[in-house]
């Protein structure tokens, strides 16, 4: 897939929002795929014993969904140059994560766009905050 061209991207442009309901089955599949079997993600009784409301999604699963949203907008994941965020609130099984982003700067000389990105849940929690991404643009 091709990168967006510098001339086609402006400050304020928005990433197409990506909504995805995350089930416990998906969290289990992510535990297998990532090798992160921490019981707070897969064992509800254990999660409650450490003060959580139940199992919670892996932060890196949420970040992976956010990366997908940005990559789809940017013309493929090879154009995603950086991504960072804070895991502010847990995403629970059954929640829908809603990933968003908008362009805050375009460096025409470098061919890079900077975006403010984040994610919230359908319960209104801001799950990924302080998010920032950079994507490669074509010239």
């Amino acid at each position: 897939m091709t990168a967006l061209s510098v001339s086609s991207v402006s400050v304020g442009d928005a990433v197409t929002p990506l909504s995805r309901q995350v089930s416990q089955e998906q969290i289990n599949a992510y535990a297998d795929a990532s090798g992160d079997h921490n019981p707070i993600h897969v064992d509800a009784d254990f999660a409650r014993s450490v003060g959580l409301p139940g199992t919670i999604a892996h932060g890196l699963l949420e970040l992976g969904i956010l990366a997908e949203a940005i990559s789809s907008w940017a013309g493929g994941s090879a154009n995603l140059r950086s991504l960072s965020c804070r895991f502010s609130k847990p995403l629970l099984p059954g929640d829908t994560i809603i990933c968003t982003g908008s362009v805050t700067a375009v460096d025409e000389a470098e061919g890079v766009a900077t975006l403010e990105v984040g994610a919230s849940s359908d319960r209104g929690d801001r799950v990924l905050t302080n998010g920032r991404a950079t994507v490669r643009l074509s010239r």
Binding site: S34, N38, G59, S71, G76, S77, S84
Partner: protein
């Protein structure tokens, strides 16, 4: 009785290395499917950027979390922040060397904040394919 180890400033500078991590196409596809969940995989030919969890974080964090001298308690561990940079895209079949270093340990409000810096290098061309930082928060033992 000896007091169990907990992370402190003396652990800053410890490095955990996992050489020869192969970007297995089937493992990358498994992660892409896990991220997609109920939806079709967006980019079936690509290695998901956050597959760095597998080739960089998992093999080095496993060493950190089992380092008896640092004594991180997994049961109380919270992943607070994460940043990734991918200077060069990683491709299926690549082999990379991964390193994680403890770069900071701070005690705040009864919790220990462990800052980590990671890097994955493809020795074939010396390209850095991933660089990142993570903040791990260790809650105080009850």
């Amino acid at each position: 009785m000896l007091r169990a180890a907990v992370p402190d400033q003396t652990h800053v500078g410890r490095r955990y290395t996992a050489s020869g991590q192969r970007i297995a196409p089937e493992a990358a596809a498994r992660m892409a499917a896990a991220i997609a969940g109920p939806d079709p995989v967006a980019d079936p030919d690509a290695v998901p950027p956050t597959f760095a969890a597998v080739y960089c974080l998992a093999p080095t964090f496993a060493q950190l979390f089992t380092d008896p001298e640092v004594g991180i308690d997994l049961a109380g561990l919270i992943h607070g922040e994460q940043s990734f940079e991918w200077p060069e895209p990683v491709r299926a079949g690549d082999v990379v060397d991964a390193t994680t270093e403890i770069v900071g340990v701070d005690l705040k409000r009864g919790m220990t904040y462990v800052r980590l810096a990671m890097e994955a290098v493809r020795p074939a061309d010396q390209a850095v394919v991933c660089r990142g930082t993570a903040l791990m928060i260790v809650r105080a033992a009850a």
